[in-house]
Amino acid sequence: MHAATLTRFGKMRMAVDPRSEAGRRLRDIAAGCPSPGNAVGTVLLRNVSVSFVSDHSLAVVSDVSLMIRPGEFVTFLGPSGCGKTTLLNVIGGMLLPTVGEVSIDGVPVTAPTPVCNVVFQQHSLFEWMRVADNVAFGPRALGHPDPRGEAMRFLRLVGLEDYAEVYPFTLSGGMQQRVAIARALATAPSVLLMDEPFGALDAQTRSIMQEELLKLRHSVAPTVIFVTHDVDEALLLSDRIFVMRAAPGGLKEEIAVDADLRRSDDPMRNESYHELRQRILAQIREETLKVFNRPDGGR
């Protein structure tokens, strides 16, 4: 039944076949047993450059190569306009790189497919659908036998099962983001892209959302690629942080975050945490200053 309904994808222009991994993971998750043995979610970027002008000069992202391992939580940090969103768009297949290639689990990415899913900064819910229909949309499209039940399961995961029948606009910003996260997780993506998902939230909600995300990660466990401006958020959530260079955007430094760091009761008091934080802040500041000092206006 599953395979039959999933073949509807055959009609779509897709280089990544969602039948294989996404379909199987969906079944695994539906059965309540994410199988850790067959790790999926390896993201590979090879010499990726993006330029929005035709002669390929003025690259927004320039020559990025990196590999992200299954289940890893990776964060891109960097000054505004350095190309973080552009990089996420490329990884998700929303934008084709000018040069280079992206692959997920060995399959080149050329269009958005359910192998990935995205949580945008804000306003990406389908506002004409009730909350439960938003979350059920993915399972329904993928031919899940019980999309509604699946939606309720993920809504419970984000603590919003009581809001299943309301329209998104009646929810607060933080609740809408939780719905967006539930909707993204409900297709069991191998890779979850999150572009400043908590950017529009107040500090309190934000910190609660971060805790929720950490908790959720262990029950769903896709590879997460995260974008933020907030160094503390990055340190709290990530296994690895990439600080990005500005104009043209690229990787300036890679920082592995020790898992013990965020497990300590009050990481803010921790000496090495503080040191790391200062180092990252200094790097971002350096890049931000570059943006402002450049004679050609920052490109």
């Binding site: 009609k11 945008f120 949309f137 993928l142």
Partner: protein, 258 residues
């Protein structure tokens, strides 16, 4: 602060009554001052005319004739305008081919089409269908087009990530994104159509409220003219209000659930 529902109903009805009474008083006063029932008959005269035309059935016939023309034209316009606008929004070659034509035709008021409509369709219902359809067409078309091109790339991407195939994409993303604008177009279109039917009937028909007004003007039966005008106004207002109520059913996500 929170009053029971019947209390609020009484309050809003009182206001409505007052807002209707006020112009009536001014009218009465002006009519007595002018003292010429051909220029401005008193409200009592118009009320009597309304009773008379209702009881002999002629007013109802005219109303039905006009309504039938409006809804036929409106239906034709919707059936043509919505699909063509959406196709033009989604397919660039179609847009390039037809948008200039629409841009040029749009400023031509429906009334300017009446001579052609009579030449093509003679007198009777057909030219009125043509005119009412034409009047409704442009607001429906332009709004549907705007709705069509308004679909958010973010929603398209999100749906693709969620695995939507072509049919889900069209039905749940493209059409639903366009729906609020399409609805606005339909509302405006119906209003335009209602105004146009009167124009068309003034010239190109032998029944309907527009024709009735025209015939009574020639006979200097001003009270009948005013009756016709009031009926046009009230029916138009009812249509607008009715559509306003329907909106909560059609675009429920625009309204707070109580």
């Amino acid at each position: 602060m929170h009053r029971p529902a019947y209390f609020r109903l009484i309050v809003s009805l009182s206001w409505l009554l007052l807002s209707l009474l006020l112009p009536l008083v001014v009218w009465e006063f002006a009519a007595r001052k002018i003292a010429n029932p051909v220029l401005l008959p008193e409200p009592e005269l118009v009320a009597a005319s309304m009773m008379e035309l209702f009881s002999d059935g002629s007013l109802m016939d005219d109303i039905l004739a006009s309504l039938q023309r409006v809804f036929t034209g409106f239906f034709i316009a919707s059936a043509v305008a919505i699909p063509s606008a959406l196709l033009m929004a989604y397919f660039l070659p179609l847009r390039r081919l037809f948008l200039p034509l629409v841009t040029v035709l749009r400023p031509i008021p429906p009334i300017a089409w009446i001579p052609l409509a009579i030449l093509w369709f003679g007198l009777g219902n057909k030219p009125s269908y043509f005119i009412t359809a034409l009047a409704a067409f442009f607001p429906i078309f332009l709004n549907a087009f705007a709705g069509g091109i308004d679909v958010q790339p973010r929603h398209i991407h999100a749906a693709r990530f969620l695995g939507a195939g072509r049919w889900l994409m069209v039905r749940h993303i493209y059409l639903m994104s366009a729906l609020p604008s399409v609805w606005t177009g339909l509302r405006i279109g119906l209003g335009q159509s209602w105004m146009a039917v009167v124009t068309a009937e003034l010239i190109a028909a032998q029944s309907g409220l527009g024709y009735m007004i025209q015939a009574n003007r020639i006979n200097l039966e001003t009270q009948h003219v005013l009756t016709g005008m009031i009926v046009i106004g009230v029916l138009g207002a009812l249509m607008t209000t009715g559509l306003g109520w329907c909106e909560k059913l059609i675009l429920p996500w625009k309204y707070q659930r109580q």
